[in-house]
């Protein structure tokens, strides 16, 4: 069975094309004279989406709009076919929200807390209680479920927050810094859980974090915001491969002349590992055949040549630097 998010909002007839997870058209949000967000236009298919951006980029505002807590100032938006402007609490039935802050109810046990979350989502009490046990067991908190929340460790609290987001089995999980404060083992376990929820159980994830490694590991799509506007969007693989001016060369032989010749052509050697592997950037219009011609001229053997993909972190910082340099995107 496919995820519930693939069904049309209005129900009724089957559709062949999946409903987009997020669809925004010229959506803006202003606070008084300050425009915090937009205009944003994008269409993202269900999947694992990383929402990135520096502080003040508009991520929190977008999250509030997606949760139905804030209405857009103008433009339209839909999440799984539901109108962002009018759905209100109805939107939060579709979304399991895992907040960054603790938000625990002191005095309750783990299972009571998760069951309460289920009841608040509209589950009958008995179903909520039964499901709370199931979800806590799935998240490996079965042994701690009757323990008061005050006795939970940080890692357990993070899982508990995920449990309360999963209780009503929403098609979309909105995760705000899910690995915040976790040790490497805990972080690894949390990311594996999220990855499994996305891949095996077809949950759409919207992961909002400053840890780009988390996004790289879990998400297949990213949406980068800067100054309230979309700086880049698309699949992680495509964005990382989008830079066409970086290569990794594996060479053999006396490279001094070759190095000088490359410099004259405008090729910069970014790193040299002294074992014949260079990372280079080439100027606009440079064709890779020129590497072989120059190498042959200096008696150097090129044993390998491949495009150098940026890490997500490099991509993020480069895009931000370029945006700042060119003064855009502007609010």
């Amino acid at each position: 069975m496919g995820p519930r998010g693939m069904q049309p909002a209005s129900g009724g007839s089957r559709v062949t094309e999946p409903v987009p997870l997020i669809e925004l058209q010229h959506l803006t949000r202003s606070f008084g004279p300050l425009r915090a967000l937009g205009p944003l236009s994008c269409r993202l298919a269900p999947g694992r989406i990383g929402l990135l951006g520096p502080n003040g980029a508009g991520k929190s505002t977008l999250l509030k709009i997606l949760l139905g807590l804030l209405a857009p100032s103008s433009g339209t938006g839909r999440i799984l076919g539901r109108d962002l402007a009018h759905a209100g609490p109805e939107l939060r039935r579709l979304i399991g929200y895992m907040p960054e802050a603790d938000g625990l109810v002191p005095g309750l046990s783990g299972v009571e807390y998760v069951a309460l979350a289920g009841e608040l989502c509209g589950m009958p009490r008995r179903d909520a209680s039964r499901r709370a046990h199931e979800v806590l067991t799935y998240l490996e908190l079965g042994d701690a479920r009757y323990r008061p929340l005050e006795q939970y460790s940080l890692g357990m609290k993070q899982r508990l927050k995920l449990a309360q987001a999963l209780i009503h089995d929403p098609p979309v999980l909105l995760l705000d810094e899910p690995t915040s404060g976790l040790d490497p083992t805990g972080r690894d376990a949390m990311l594996e859980l999220l990855d499994r929820l996305g891949r095996e159980h077809h949950k759409s994830l919207i992961l909002c974090t400053h840890l780009l490694g988390d996004v790289e590991r879990v998400c297949n799509t990213v949406l980068i915001l800067h100054r309230g506007q979309i700086l880049a969007q698309g699949s992680v693989a495509e964005l990382r491969a989008s830079r066409q001016d970086r290569y990794i060369l594996q060479i053999q032989g006396d490279s001094a002349g070759f190095r000088e010749e490359l410099a004259l052509e405008g090729v910069q050697i970014v790193t040299d590992n002294t074992r014949g592997q260079w990372r280079v950037t080439v100027p606009h219009g440079f064709v890779t055949r020129a590497f072989f011609a120059l190498a042959a001229h200096h008696g150097v053997l090129i044993r390998g040549l491949r495009a150098d993909e940026e890490s997500l972190e490099e991509l993020f910082h480069r895009l931000l630097a370029e945006a700042d340099l060119h003064g855009g995107p502007q609010r």
């Binding site: 069975m1 609490p89 907040p99 938000g103 009571e112 309460l116 608040l120 509209g122 067991t137 309360q164």
Partner: protein, 358 residues
């Protein structure tokens, strides 16, 4: 064939196939409308029997509250209170007042049956005149099922209720602000009205466990001891008890929620609460009774305001209210309305201002 090298997984994630209930806003408004109509008709109908039946339905309808979307919030809040020993200690204290009235009424009924006898020997030592005993129980202590019985009962419960409310405020709502639980509630598919209704419901249940419920039990007990006619002839008393409970519940709930949202922690809340209800009472009493200031000064004591309104609702003789003189009922109602409006105008923006996504 199973992969023996695979990482063992104890339980795979399973989806939930049930359907979620609606937000219940329409049914909540429907419920409130039905209750208001029942209460209104009960107040207007001349027949005592019909009034009792209508009020019975009114009370029974409260069982439907457990179906409300706000009920899980109220239930959890009450659960957290019931888990504290302090609550049970205070409730035991409150029950002693109730038991005093319960057995006082029983004693009066018993003494009435002994009117013909000249003297009663108590424990072989003391001799008690039934007439004197009856007069004390009926005219001094008011264990006679009259408006004064219930008025005094509410008044005597005040001290325990005030202490209990001061402690419970921090647990019921202060902790939600202090520990960020409010963001947890509001991130769910409910509105802030569900949240406020849930918390308010918890305070109402808590408060009525100390006041209205024991008062109704006393009314039923007196009717069963006296005669069945009491239920129909004094049905206005049941109406008055419920109306008094309603005024107390509504006003104190709103004031408590606002105070707890403002102060959050237990100690400042207790201090503020005591100032509001104990210090204010002492000051107003000193000003009016001691210095002979205008009775309007009693309006600074909120419990006294509810007491004056309660007297009117119970149809007690307003000229015999202790302590006297007292302000007019409409003045007390106006003050209570003003305080509640001010508290709501603080509380609602305060809850709205909570950052669910920081």
């Amino acid at each position: 064939m199973a992969d023996l090298n695979a990482k063992p997984v104890l339980l795979h994630y399973r989806g939930w196939r049930g359907s979620l209930q609606g937000d219940g806003v329409a049914s909540t408004f429907g419920f409130l409308a039905v209750q208001a109509a029942l209460f209104g008709v009960a107040a207007l109908v001349p027949s005592g029997l019909v009034r009792v039946l209508l009020l019975g339905v009114f009370l029974a309808n409260f069982l439907l509250v457990s179906r409300s979307r706000a009920w899980p919030i109220a239930r959890v809040a009450l659960l957290m209170l019931f888990r504290r020993r302090l609550f049970w200690g205070l409730y035991a204290l409150s029950i002693t007042v109730f038991l005093c009235y319960f057995f006082g009424q029983y004693l009066m009924s018993w003494a009435q049956g002994l009117l013909g006898e000249s003297e009663i020997r108590v424990g072989g030592v003391a001799r008690v005149q039934p007439k004197w005993l009856l007069e004390t129980l009926r005219d001094t202590l008011h264990f006679n099922g009259s408006p004064l019985t219930f008025r005094d009962f509410f008044w005597f419960e005040a001290n325990t209720v005030m202490i209990a409310l001061a402690f419970s405020g921090a647990v019921l709502i202060g902790n939600d602000f202090r520990y960020g639980s409010l963001a947890f509630y509001l991130a769910k598919p409910i509105s802030i009205w569900h949240y406020l209704l849930g918390k308010g419901l918890a305070v109402v249940v808590f408060l009525n466990l100390f006041t209205t419920l024991p008062a109704v039990v006393l009314w039923v007990q007196f009717g069963m001891l006296e005669s069945w006619e009491y239920f129909t002839e004094q049905s206005h008393l049941l109406l008055g008890i419920l109306a008094y409970g309603l005024v107390l519940s509504t006003s104190l709930t709103i004031v408590l929620l606002a105070a707890a949202a403002w102060l959050r922690t237990t100690v400042p809340l207790i201090m503020a609460w005591m100032t509001l209800f104990v210090f204010a009472q002492a000051v107003s009493s000193a000003l009016v009774d001691g210095l002979r200031f205008s009775p309007l000064w009693r309006l600074i004591d909120l419990w006294n305001c509810t007491y004056v309104i309660g007297n009117a609702l119970l149809q007690a003789d307003l000229s015999k209210i202790r302590p006297s003189p007292q302000p007019e009922v409409w003045q007390a109602a106006l003050v209570l309305l003003g305080v509640c409006s001010a508290c709501l105008s603080y509380l609602i923006p305060r809850v709205r201002a909570v950052e669910i996504v920081p």
